[in-house]
Every structure is written in C-alpha cells, then in structure tokens.
Amino acid sequence: MDSWVIVMMMSASIFLGSIALFGFIWAVRSGQFDDKEKYLNGAKYDGEDELNHAVMLEKKKKKLKENYRPPD
C-alpha cells in the first residue's frame, strides 16, 4: 500500500467533515437556533403565499435601500 492512499483518505474525510462543520456554524450564525419554536412553525406555515411574500419583501428592501434619503 502506498502512503498516498492514506493521505487521500484522510484529506477527503477531513474535507467532508469540515463542510458539515461550516454548514452548522453558518446555521448558528444566521440565528436558526435562536428561536426554536419559530423555525419549527416556519415549516407549518410554509406555502405559496409565504414564498410570494418573501420575494416581495426582498424587492421592497432593495427598492427602499436604493431610494433611501435619511432625514437630516
């Protein structure tokens, strides 16, 4: 057995593991574990309307950010 096999196996497993780790850390950072109830209910209330609403909200945010003039 050549040593490159063990190098490859180890790097592959550590790489895959770190992808999972970064996924988890991303989830923690984006606040998905802050409010357990709400995220669980999010699945319950999911639907076409909600999707439309989310898209609309994104658009609105963008528009507001473009036109925003803070009052002095």
Binding site: I6, I14, I25, D35, Y45, H53, L57, L64
Partner: protein, 802 residues
C-alpha cells in the same frame, strides 16, 4: 342558560345575546366587542385572514379599546434612548410585544409589519416576545408602526437592547462556535493519534509518521488560533492587570507545544504533541462554556419595571383634565387617580377617599384607607379610590423613582464572592510556569541538548494541563443545578451555589415567606341559625383579603348563589346589602359601630362580623397562619450555626407573635423597602454573607442587595426577576434543600479540585524526570478529567437515591 358562542376574532366564549352579529359573505360572524370586529376587518382587508386558520382555537386577549397617544414614540427623547441607526442609515428599535399567545400571533405581527410601506425588517422572537424592527424613516414614523401593532390587537413597549442581555447572548454564541470547531478538530486528531500510538509500540516508519503529524498540524491550527483566541485574550488582560491566571498557563503551554511540534515535524526528530495542544484547548474551553452558559442576564429585570410605570397621568388644569407626561408634572399640580390605577407621585389628597394597596411598600395585603388631607405614596395602587391629590414631589424625586434607581444600582453592584477555583488557579498557574522553567534550566545545565531540555520543560506544562482543574467547578455546579431543578429550586447562576454554601446569615420576610400571606379562618362563632348561602353571596362581592378568607372557608361547605340588592362597599369597613327586604352586612368592628350594632366579642385576631337586620349572627376569627414546616426548618438552620433574622413591614405585635412561634430571636418590624436593604448592607459591613428570602415587590431592594436573593415562586414578577434563586413550590422545606444542595455542591467542588491537584502531584515529578511520552500525557489528561466528571456523577447518583 343559553349556549355560549365564541367570538370570531378572540375565540373567547360569551352568551349569544351580548355578541355583535355581522353577516360577511353569507356567513354570520359574532364579535364580543367593537375592537375584535375592527381587527377582523383589518386583517381581511389586508389579506391576512389566514391568521385564523393558523391560530386554530387559541384564545386571544380582546384588543384594548383605549390607547394612550402613540405620538410620544416620535419624541426626540424617546429616539435618543431606544432608537438606533443601522449601517445603511435605517432606524432600528427593539420592542416587547404584549399579547402574543401562539405562533400564529408572531406570524400575524411579522406579516402585518412587513406589509407596511417602509418597514425593512420585522423579526419577533416567539420565546421572549421581543421584536426587532428596522424601518426607513423618510417613509414611515415609529408611531405608525406602534399604531399598526395596536390596531391588530397587540401592544408594544420599547426596551433598551444595548444592555447586557444582548452582549450575553452574543458571547454565548461566540463561545459555542469556538467550542464546536475545537471539538470537531480534537475528535479527528484523536482518531489520528490512535494510529500514531499503536505505531509507537509496533514500529512506524518516518514516512507515515510525517503524514500523521502534518494532518494533526492542519487540524490543530484552527483550534489554537481560533478556539484558543479566548485564552490569549484572557492572558493579555490578566497580564495587563498583573495577574497570572489560568488563561496564561493554557495559552503559553499550548503555543509552546504547538511550535515545538512543528519543529519536530519539520526536522523529523521524534514525537509531536499536536494532540495535546488541541486537547488542552478543548477541555478548558468546554469548562468555560459551561460557566458562560449558566450565567444569568440581569437585563430583563429593568425592562419589566419600566413597563409597569405608565408614561402619562391625568392632571386637572384650569378645570380641564389633560394628559401630561411624567416629566412635565410639577409640584403643586393636581393629579387624578381613579380606582385600579397606580399612584405615580407622592402627594396629599385634596378630594375623595378610598383604599389603597400598599403591598409594594409594606408587603401587607391589607388595604389601607385614606381620606382628605392624608398622604398618598407613589408606587401604591388605588383599589377603589377616586381621588384628586396635590403633587408634593416631582417624579424624579418620588418614592417610586428612587426605588427604581436604587434597584438599578443594586443590580449592577451585586457583591461577588471570589470563587475557590479562581483563587486556586492563580497560584497553580504561577507555580507550574515556574516549575517548568526550572526543569528546563536544570536539564539544560545537566547537560542535555537544547531540544531534550526544552521538551521536558514543555512536558511539565502539558502534563499539568489544568483540564481537570478547569472542569472541576463547572461540572460540580451543573450537578448542583440539576439536583435543584428536580426539587423545584432554580439557581439562576451556577456561581451562586458556591456563594450560598458560604452564607452565614439568613434573612426572612414575614408575610408570604414564613406565613401563608393571606388570612385564614381559624375559628367561627354562630349566635343564631342563618342561611349560610346569604353570607357566601355577600363575601363573594368583595375582593378584600378578609372577605376572601371567609369565602374560602365557607366554599368548602356550601354552594349557593343569591342575588343581593343595593349592594354597597364601604371602604375600610365592609359590605352592606339588602336581601328580600332584610339588611345584610359583613365587615369589621367599625362597620358595626357606624350602624350602631352591638357586639361584645373580643379577640386579638382579625374579626369578621356578619349581621342580619342589626343582629350579629356569626363571627369569624381570621389569622395569617404560619406555614406548617416553618418552625422545624428554621430550627435546623439555627442548629447549623446560621443566624436567622426576620424583617417585616408589618407592626411589631404581629411580628413578635410569628417570631415567637417559629423561634426567631432577631426581628425588625415596620421596615420600609429601603430600611430592609440598609439592614442587609449593615450585615455586609460586618463581613457576613447574607441570604435573603422574600416574595413581594417590597422585598426587591433587599433581594437585589443580598449575596443571594431567594424568592418564592408565587412572588411578584419583579421579585422573581431580581432574585438569584426561585423556590417553585413555595415551601420552606425546599429552602432547606437549597442550602443542602449548595453545601453538597461546594463539597464536591473541593473534592474535584483535590483530585486534580493530587493527580498533578503524582504526574508533575514524572514529567520533571523526563518520563513523559505523548501517550502518557494524553491518557493522563483524559483520566484526570474523567475522574472529576465521574466523582460528580457519583454525588448525583447518591442524591437521586436519597
């Protein structure tokens, strides 16, 4: 009785006759009030009607109909305090939404706000009902946002999010991420280390050794520099304050080992110690995380107090009633308070009379009757009084405001007893660093090569790795916390267990703590036969604690409801009514006197007289009785050498009676909330550590000042917030349990620290002698940590059985 029908909006059930009927799209809807009807139409019009599908049968509070003007949310002073600017220049405010019952409510609030033009973000936390709203100020005013929340049937209060709570949460999250990275890397490193160790005994070629070393190097780098950043920071701040702390030991040990291992790996010299680097960091980080996890945030407390103070009062000016903000009311203004409202200023009554609930200040539930010319105190609540009073002090100097500011300072300046482990680790760290330096110098001069001497010196630090020391306290306190939780004792912060174990003085409040806090009938005297349901119907009309006590006593025996005519409640005296032409009255001696009814019965207890047509037919004696286990529990404290003191706002006689009965010698009666906290500070000055037990608003100052504030679960919300320990089942027995648990836990901490020190006593000489190989270092680290955890589990099991 006709069938009950649920209101379409709030789902509360009412008789059909009182409901508003409306036909909408060929379907009849019922509403309990205009408010509910309004909200229903608003939701339908804005396309949010699916709220009702989501809410199901959840009962909501009907929307409040009267609101104070929301325009004060736009005031500059308000903006300065609560509104922040985001990076993009938008405005952000944190609100507590009141009236959230279910997840559908959160959904509704978020959607309704997000639909508003100008709102960029609306995020509500379901668990604590706190909302963060970001909006564009040029499109929308904050008051419009508030009006929207109110329009859909909720209410919003601002809170200052800049205080500790947010910081505490952020710190917790930060620790968590660092810990996860450390654990992930350590687990992988240990897996690789297994291969290395077996290679150590069975023979391994340098080629494979290099592969493993480099893999470990890659994995341990984030552990040291990302996860271990906390220790570098801690060591830096320690050095700045000239303190040698455990962080310094951990960070020097780990860094030196790391660079030494790189050196070994690159020159192919011997054994690398990367596994030790990541294990030290991981173990100590887990210990630190446990500590951070069990820290309480004092932030919410002040929010709740602020919420309880209305922002406006009604003032009589030029014969007109106007609403003024608290800061605008001047000395000499006439303020109007109606029944059920809170008195917010100190002053003198100039018109009207009635009873006031002064339990916020005295702790006694008995209402106090006040009339023209008497003083009213801010913080008290009018029960049935409609009065006009002249303001004698402005709000900033009122009793209420000074209580709030005293409380704020007490919460921020809470005494902290230094923890045993912290004290110990300072010495430990200095000694180990010194020993390792000495070892290195001795080996180098002996003479050995620099590499060998350096390795032995480092192995001392590695083997003395304070893993077990770092875990000793957090693991023990976690055991204590879980033991407490099983018995209905909630410690809010782990460190308090240790503080409590060191307590020398126990201060008890009387009403609600030693006694049950409400009068109970102890004996009754019937002079004539009478219809007992008549008395029952009479006392049902009053909210007075004495009437309630009689009601509770009677309710066990009879169940009847008569309708009384011309019912009248006479403040501080009793109730008078008519039934089938007969005059029925119930109340105290003063009531009898004013109706010229004679009765010779005398007693030191509170008496409730019941008379029909000027004839006293029954007398009930009431007493605030002492909790069953009070005497025994207090005796057990005294036998353990803890000084027990009773503080009460009640008068000296009744205080003495209770104290004698339970065997307390030191009593202080007629104490105001400030007196109580001053007394606790005096005890502090005598170097005593004080545990204060109370239940009411009048105790909060003292609770906040004490080393440990314990509150009964039935206590007021603010008291529960200010306290450090909550006894959920109200019994004094659990107070004793809390003490027992804290002492056991403290003993456990000492044992654990002993184990880890003993372990080091054996292994450090071995390391100094140069007998330590990486395998032994790794095993010793795990074994000492396991011993500490195992010992803590042993205590837990013992308690579970006992």
């Amino acid at each position: 009785m006709s069938e009950k029908i649920a209101c379409t909006h709030c789902h509360l059930e009412f008789d059909e006759s009182v409901l508003i009927q409306e036909e909408i799209q060929n379907k009849v809807h019922y509403f309990c009030c205009k408010g509910c009807q309004g909200v229903y139409h608003l939701l339908n019009d804005s396309g949010l009607e699916s709220f009702y599908d989501k809410a199901g049968d959840t009962k909501l509070a009907p929307p409040l109909e009267q609101f104070e003007d929301a325009s004060n949310f736009d005031a500059p002073a308000f903006y300065e305090k609560f509104v922040k600017s985001t990076k993009d220049g938008f405005k952000q405010v944190s609100l507590i939404i009141e009236g959230i019952h279910c997840s559908a409510c959160v959904w509704l609030n978020e959607k309704a706000l997000q639909k508003m033009d100008g709102v960029i973000e609306a995020n509500i936390n379901f668990t604590n009902n706190k909302a963060i709203i970001v909006w564009a100020e040029d499109v929308l005013k904050l008051s419009e946002i508030i009006m929207m929340i109110r329009a859909i049937g909720y209410n919003a209060f601002p809170y200052d999010a800049s205080i500790q709570e947010v910081h505490a949460n952020a710190a917790r999250k930060d620790y968590y991420q660092r810990m996860i990275v450390a654990i992930f890397a350590s687990m992988n490193i240990m897996m690789i280390a297994v291969a290395q160790y077996s290679g150590f005994f069975t023979g391994i070629t340098q080629e494979y050794k290099n592969i493993f070393n480099i893999a470990e190097w890659v994995l341990s780098t984030p552990v040291l520099f990302y996860s271990g950043w906390i220790f570098f920071r801690g060591a830096y701040f320690g050095l700045k304050n000239k303190i040698v702390n455990m962080d310094l030991l951990v960070s020097t040990g780990a860094t030196l080992t790391y660079f030494y291992s790189i050196y070994i790996t690159l020159l192919e010299l011997g054994e690398a110690y990367f596994d030790s680097v990541s294990m030290i960091i991981t173990f100590v980080l887990v210990g630190k995380f446990l500590e951070v996890l069990s820290k309480k945030s004092a932030a919410d407390t002040l929010d709740i107090i602020g919420k309880q103070i209305p922002s406006e009062v009604h003032v009589l000016k030029d014969e007109k009633i106007i609403s003024l903000k608290l800061g605008e009311v001047k000395v000499g203004d006439i303020v109007i308070v109606s029944s059920g409202e809170k008195v917010l200023f100190d002053g003198t009554i100039i018109q009207g009379d009635g009873s006031f609930d002064e339990s916020n200040l005295t702790g006694e539930n008995e209402p106090v009757y006040k009339q023209n010319g008497e003083r009213v105190i801010s913080g008290t609540v009018s029960i049935d009084a409609d009065i006009h009073f002249e303001v004698k002090k402005d709000f900033e100097h009122s009793t209420l405001a000074s209580l709030v500011s005293l409380l704020e300072s007490a919460i921020n300046k809470k005494p902290k007893i230094e923890q045993l482990a912290n004290k110990l680790s300072e010495y430990f760290s200095s000694v180990i660093l010194l020993v390792s330096l000495v070892t290195f110098v001795v080996w180098y001069l002996w003479p050995h090569s620099f590499e060998v001497a350096f390795m032995v010196g480092i192995s001392v630090i590695i083997i003395a790795c304070p893993c077990a020391l770092a875990l000793a306290t957090p693991v023990a306190t976690l055991v204590g916390l879980s033991l407490g939780a099983k018995r209905g004792i909630l410690f809010k912060e782990a460190a308090q267990i240790e503080t409590m174990a060191k307590a020398t003085t126990l201060v008890l409040d009387k009403t609600g703590t030693i006694t049950k806090g409400k009068p109970e009938v102890t004996s009754s005297h019937n002079f004539q036969d009478f219809d007992i349901s008549l008395l029952l119907s009479l006392v049902k009309l009053s909210k007075h604690p004495v009437a309630q006590g009689v009601l509770e006593y009677l309710d066990q025996k009879v169940d009847a409801h008569l309708v009384l005519d011309t019912y009248k409640q006479i403040p501080a005296k009793g109730i008078v009514a008519e039934y089938e032409g007969k005059q029925v009255l119930g109340g105290n001696k003063k009531l009898l006197d004013s109706y010229e009814i004679e009765c010779k019965h005398k007693s030191e207890n509170t008496l409730f007289y019941f008379a029909i047509d000027k004839q006293v037919v029954a007398i009930y004696e009431l007493q605030d009785s002492i909790k069953e286990d009070a005497k025994q529990v207090i005796e057990s404290f005294q036998s353990r050498g803890i000084e027990v003191v009773m503080l009460t706002g009640d008068n000296a006689d009744s205080a003495k009676r209770v104290a004698n009965e339970v065997g307390i010698e030191t009593i202080l009666s007629e104490q105001t909330p400030e007196d109580k906290s001053k007394y606790i500070q005096r005890l502090h000055d005598d170097n005593k550590s004080v545990v204060m037990v109370g239940d009411g608003v009048n105790d909060i100052l003292a609770l906040a000042h004490a080393d440990i504030g314990i509150v009964m679960g039935s206590g007021s919300d603010i008291a529960v917030d200010v306290s450090d320990v909550v006894l959920l089942n109200d019994s004094l027995q659990s107070l004793e349990d809390a003490f027992k648990i804290s002492r056991t836990t403290f003993g456990l901490i000492k044992q654990n620290l002993g184990i880890s020190l003993l372990y080091n006593l054996i292994t450090i000489p071995l390391a100094m002698g140069g007998y330590i190989i990486p395998l032994i270092a790794a095993i010793s680290m795990s074994v000492s940590s396991l011993l500490v955890v195992g010992n803590s589990m042993r205590i837990r099991l013992q308690w579970m059985k006992g």
